[in-house]
Each structure stands twice: as C-alpha cells, then as structure tokens.
Symmetry: C2
C-alpha cells in the first residue's frame, strides 16, 4: 500500500479547506464538492468519477470496495489521507460519519453539453430552494431512467452536502445542467421536446395523457410553484387528483408521481 499522509490536528489547513466545502462560496471558488460514504463513493467510481482527495478514518473496518476505491485514487494520482473519526466528522458535519469521504471536481453543468437523445425522460426544476428536494429528484431520476436534472433560475446547489446526500449517489449518475429560463426555452425548442408540468390551467388528467419522448417533466418552486408563463409554454399540462384540502404536492413528490407515470406510458403504450 502506498504511503498515506496522516492528519491528526483539527486546525490542519487541509481539514479547514475540506470543511469549507460545506459552504457554497467555497465550493464555487474551489470548483470542488464533498461526498461521503463507501456506497456513494463506489457509485461514483463505477460511474467514472474518481475523487481527487480521499479521506479515510483510522480504525475503519477493511472492505474490498474501499480497497478498490483507494487503488482507483492512486491510479489517477489523487491523494489519500488518513485521519481520526472525529476529524472526519468535523469535515462532513455529521455526528456519525461514514468511514470515508471524497473531494470531487464539480461537473460541467452547461446546458449546451447535455445530449437530450441520451434518455426519454428529463426532470426540470425551477427555483427549487430545498437541497433535500433537489437531491431526492436526482435519486428519482436515476430510478426512472431519466437522463438528468435541469435546474432553472435560482435553484439550490446540487453539490451541497445535503443534496449529494439526498441523491444517494445519483448526483454521479444523472447529468446536471443549470440555466436561466431565457436560455432553456430556445435550447428546448432547438430539438425534439415535450415540456410537461402539473398545472391547474387547461390541464388534462395525468393518467393516460399523451406523453412523448424526450419528455421534460418540470416542477416549480416550493412556495410559489411555476410562473404562469412557464406553465403556458408547456406542451402538455396535467392534473393529479387532490382529494383533500391541499392544492399541491411536495415538489420532489410531484416530479416522482409524474415521472413514474411518463415511464409507465412509454413502457406500456396503450
């Protein structure tokens, strides 16, 4: 096994730099983000994402997947650091830290680099503020075989610790693009596209609606929903039953119910 740098002090500059990645401004400045846990990092590796820095807790249980991860980091010339569980906990901000964390370079999130032909379903979130909702959408996208998640306007950061955690690894398997609506709409109309949203305006039932690939399923901000202009720009507006007092679902839930319906319609065309 290669030599491993060991960090023993909380005030070590590397610890400070890693810990700083929990804040958006530092992530943005460094172009890097943190992910933790053997499962997540294995998902990353198997999706072609090798951490630049791997941080291991001393006293961890040996694991074949951990050994593979270390070997992969060594192979690309990345750095492997050992530290105490306490310091790892300080870095990740979790009371019961996983035995391993990694630092990754942020991905290219330019809309122009996204190839819509890669998948029949894409999720779109507009001004989604909750990183947990955003991560949950990535996780759902992975499950329904979506190509990725397009973040419109002022969304939460997909590379935040909370979003990465909630994505359960899907941050590495789903494409992520960020754009303003003014950029998204011409891009969307520059190729095959069906834009769909849940709406109360001139909408049809979501079950049995004529979904068509590539289908872009869009949900709006947690408090305000979608701007009316965005809804009216949709090719298809659908309603879901609302049997109770509420008139909307949680954004990530709406995306999932709709996304699974689109998937079912593609797999079992009536």
């Amino acid at each position: 096994m290669a030599f491993r740098r060991e960090i023993t002090g909380f005030s070590n500059p590397t610890v400070k730099a890693l810990r700083a990645l929990r804040e958006k401004k530092h992530r943005k400045a460094a172009g890097k983000f943190l992910a933790e846990g053997l499962r997540l990092l294995t998902d990353a590796r198997e999706s072609g994402h090798i951490p630049e820095v791997l941080v291991l807790a001393k006293g961890r249980e040996p694991h074949p997947l951990l050994a593979e991860l270390e070997a992969a980091v060594d192979a690309v010339g990345g750095e492997v650091i050992e530290t105490s569980p306490d310091i790892l906990s300080k870095i990740t901000g979790k009371d019961n830290p996983q035995a391993v964390a990694g630092v990754f370079a942020e991905f290219d999130t330019a809309l122009a680099s996204l190839d819509r032909r890669r998948a029949d379903i894409w999720l779109v979130a507009q001004a989604l503020r909750d990183p947990g909702n955003l991560g949950t959408m990535l996780r759902t996208g992975d499950a329904i075989g979506a190509g990725g998640l397009i973040l419109l306007d002022d969304c939460a950061d997909p590379f935040s610790v909370e979003a990465v955690r909630a994505s359960m690894g899907a941050v590495f398997t789903q494409r992520i693009a960020r754009a303003e609506w003014s950029e998204f709409e011409p891009w969307l109309r520059g190729g095959a596209s069906q834009l769909v949203a849940a709406s109360l305006r001139e909408a049809q039932p979501y079950r049995g609606a004529p979904y068509a690939a590539p289908c872009f399923v869009m949900v709006g901000n947690e408090s305000r929903g979608l701007p009316e202009a965005y809804e009216m720009a949709c090719d298809l507006r659908v309603t879901m039953p609302m049997k109770g007092r509420a008139d909307s679902l949680n954004a990530a839930v709406a995306a999932a119910v709709l996304g699974y319906e689109v998937l079912a319609s593609f797999e079992n065309p009536s």
Copy 2:
C-alpha cells in the same frame, strides 16, 4: 376587539415556554405543539382545530382570515398575544417568520381510536426518522384522500416544527396514530385490511396489482427499509421500476408513487 396581551421581552416566560415547544421533550411534557402561518392555521381552524394560544406579530397586514382566526380563538376562550416580529421569529426559529403562530394540544394518537372505515387508503411508516419525510407523507396522504398516517416503532415526531411545516396543514386533516408493530399487527388483522409494501421479495409489478380497500401502504426506515418479517406479513408486495444504480426511492416518494397507484386502481378499476 378584545384586549390583547402584549409581550415585548425576549426573556418573557411565555416566550420561553413557546420556544421550548420546538424540542420534543418539552412538547411531550406539555402535550402541545406549534404551527405557524395563516394558511396552516386556517386549515387547522376549518378542520376543527383551534389554537389554545395565538401569537400575532405587531405591524402585520390585516387579513379577513386572520380576523376569523382571532374570533375563533376568542370564542373558545383561548389566549391571543401580540409580540414583535423578532420575538415571533425567535419562537418559531424561522428567519422570515409568518405573521402568526399557534399553540395546539397534541391529538390522540392511539391506534384504537382510529376508524379504518373512514377511508380506502391509509399510509403506514415504520421507523421513519426524518420529520420532513413524515410531514411530506401527511401532505401526500391528504392529496390522495388517505385517512391518515400510522407511525410504527421509533418514528420521528409528527408534531415537530419540521414535520408540521412539511405537512402543509395535513397534520390537521390526516389522522395520526402511533404504535409498535406488535400492537399494529393484531389491530390490522382485527378488521378488513390489505397491507402493501414495496419489496424485492416475491413481488409483483406495482402497476395493475390487485389493491383492495382498506389498503395500508407501508414504507420503511430511510436507511434500512422494512424488517423482513414486516415485508413477509404483507398481503401484497410490489416492485417499482428501478432503471438506474439505486435500488430504492426516498421513503416519502415511494409512499406517494404507490399511494397514487392505489388511488388510480380504486377510481378506474380495470
């Protein structure tokens, strides 16, 4: 308008007592919980839940629904307090507080008092740890016309500020019961019941599965899923497509996708 007690100091004992309701042990000791926002409190009122204490921010915009709320609290002999937006913010723990918050008595959550004939769908959560997920399940339950949410084993507190917030008022419209599995199973089998869960064990596709009312849709803990014994006790085990690397959905998402499927099968029997 009736005389309103005004609180101007952060160290006022009432402020401290209200603020303490953000912690579970104090909620439990007092048997009370906090909810905030005019819309939530109006949902509560229209569902028959009047706060024991209503806290209003000075300088708030007048609103007819707020006036109705005050009148309802006065009518039942509750207390109405005025305070500064800063103090209200301290009570609710929110930077941008709503103009109004209320203190409610916790509801009876005994399983025995739950009438399964009230609805065709019930949601069941086992050892769900995230109050946001729990509140989201309440919100989804309201949307699909579920009767309520049954919390098995060691779940998060449905009366926490986070759960109440995520429920978007459904904490007042959905019945909530808490029970251990050992208590739930005999209760379930003591009447008409179909227990359903997503599972990888001897399961059939969730679309078109033979759902039957009253249908109890159960999801498990965020990390561990359902115990095998609970899955095997189900009348129906179903699978949802998992096209990507992940083998599970967020718990609240799984409950929603499954719950909407059950609803659709009841509304459009094939």
